[in-house]
Symmetry: C2
Subunit: 119 residues, 2 copies
């Protein structure tokens, strides 16, 4: 595998809430996603999940607090923790999580994206 350029990869898609895999390290995947608006409350019962904001700003709502993440910031959502991502304006995010993780976690619905979609 060669060098992966985040901006070039983001230019290749426009759909929201649909993570695209750009790299794998062992059995973990790095995914880019564009988000805007409200996601669904969900959790991942088997794994932590990393959010790294590449461009823009987003919020992650938890049951007892809300975090704001801007470009150059990251947060690790602990496994089993219910959370709801939200972005007022379009925000470009990198996710890091084990191969096979579904974007809506233990909830299935219209925002559930294709898994393992490479770009």
């Amino acid at each position: 595998m060669s060098v992966v350029n985040f901006a070039e990869k983001f230019d290749l898609f426009s759909d929201l809430w649909s993570p695209k895999v750009i790299a794998e390290m062992n059995d973990y995947q790095f995914k880019l996603v564009k988000i805007q608006g409200e996601f669904v409350w969900h959790d991942h019962s088997d794994t932590d999940e990393v959010f790294i904001v590449i461009e823009g700003s987003m919020k992650i709502e938890f049951e007892e607090r809300t975090l704001t993440l801007s470009a150059g910031e990251m947060h690790v959502v602990p496994k089993g923790t219910r959370h709801k991502p939200y972005a007022e304006q379009e925000c470009k995010v990198m996710l890091v999580e084990p191969r096979g993780v579904i974007n809506t976690g233990d909830v299935r619905g219209e925002l559930t994206a294709e898994n393992d979609a490479w770009i």
Copy 2:
């Protein structure tokens, strides 16, 4: 854990080639490191290793080619692949790898840094 701001974390240290852990996801660690000059040839026999350039530019020499990585770019060095990082000017990098990985891999020397140093 709360929000981790890369710029704030980089402001907390100045030593080169000495990765600082800023977050953990499952048994993986996210580390920031400042590099300048030449590192040593080494490999990690048990794991892939991710380089993400946050600021500046660096090279990764391999036995048969050299890659250049700039801010907003990443590369996954496959496990067991001999490589030598290099940066002409100071470059700020994020590494992602399993907990316990030694920076100089299977080589020990004066550039071998303290492992699991949190910042």
